[in-house]
Amino acid sequence: METVLTNKDKQVIISPDHPFVIIGERINPTRRKKLAESMAQSRFDLVQEDAINQVSAGAQVLDVNAGIPGADEPALLRGAVEAVLGVTDVPLCFDSANPDALEAALSIYPGKALINSTTAEESMMSRVLPLVKKYHAAVIGVITDESGIPATPADRLAVARKLVQRAADFGIPAEDVVIDCLALTVGADSKAGRVTLDSMQLIQSELGVNLSLGASNVSFGLPDRKIINVAYLALGIARGLTAAITDPTVPEIQTTLMACDLLMGRDDYAMRWIQAFRRREKAKAAAQS
């Protein structure tokens, strides 16, 4: 199944047959004081800097979040999106639970965006899915519903099925629903990582949809988080993960994902891998001279 995202004539395809799609997570004011302060004053220079850095580090899509408590989210999200569109041409992902903010961004966006996200709660789906349809976007469906996060892979499959079916009710095809199986924290529950991996495998084989993951949650509260996150992405990719909301400016993430593409048969003659190696060597040489 192919989830196609666009920005004007630039196109990104999320699919098991294409390179893994990194959705850059850095444009998000939560826990980033400087960014939050500047965004709150409608200054988007740091947003633009983050956009450029992430794209040059390999992000094919950029997540844009403008959730600042007490601020006018529709205006800020729209402003941030305009700012990002001014410096990059990659497709965007709008990150908000506020339908007004989503619509403010969707209405000015020149292409097919990704919406992050809806849960399988009826109150969320009935607000978000009409927007997905109206603006011909794609949406991330997070597998949690009125009764919380299901404990078993079978129950998570049922929630994923509900998301795909409700989307179909609104005329949204399954390829435009990307399922997020929710990475819970292994520091609090040692089995949490495994349940999510098993869920991914089951949902991929049953529904064939694309899968995304906000992966960094998995390592919360533990030392050497980067290594855990990267290993988790690799394990996920083997089970059908085709995109992740993550930080491409972390070198380990970038190289591991590229190695995964090679090992999953998505890098003919290892050309991307070799080119990336040469770029690293060149950067090293430049740093030494």
Binding site: P29, T30, R31, G67, I68, P69, G70, S96, A97, N98, T144, G148, I149, T185, G187, A188, S190, F220, G221, L222, P223
Partner: protein, 209 residues
Amino acid sequence: MELKDIYENVINGQAPAVEAGVKAALASGVAADAILNQALIAAMDEVGRRFEEGDFFVPEMLIAARAMQAGLNHLKPYLAESSIKSAGKVAIGTVKGDLHDIGKNLVAMMLEGAGFEVKDLGVDVSPEAFVKAAQEGAQVVGMSALLTTTMSNMEKTIQALKDAGLRESVKVIIGGAPVTQDYANRIGADAFAPDASSATRTVRQLLGN
């Protein structure tokens, strides 16, 4: 010597050893409040300190809290007998619309470890449920939110406490990744705590112990 062993076993998260240690100490005539204060609470203070310093990680804190809990369960009947007063009553929960519970659970465990009577209201807790807990005698209401989209429910809960005429009789403490001291000031909370260990210290301060 026995108390020192219990103390070490709590820090190392050895629940069965803590339980056995508490039983042995009681059998040899050590006072229940001495076990509580010098072993269990002292150990959780140390765990909190290590966590704040970055020497301890979340799972270590969780198993230490579980070990403390195992000891405390065995100790409780003896504490009631000797009429030891609890350090205070705290109701805690993650606000409406928010399902994140790790931070909230850690705070609840650390508060119990510090001798507080904790009512854990769970996740997705409505303002009305917090109000009810305050009516039922909670002296402190603790709220957690991990999402910028659910933080505003902290303000709504404070308003609900005001509407119920309870705001003057309870202290409100808040926390969670997007929450800041500024935000606490803005919505009229009594305190903000950045982590579970400082939350315990702050609650002690709020209640003047």
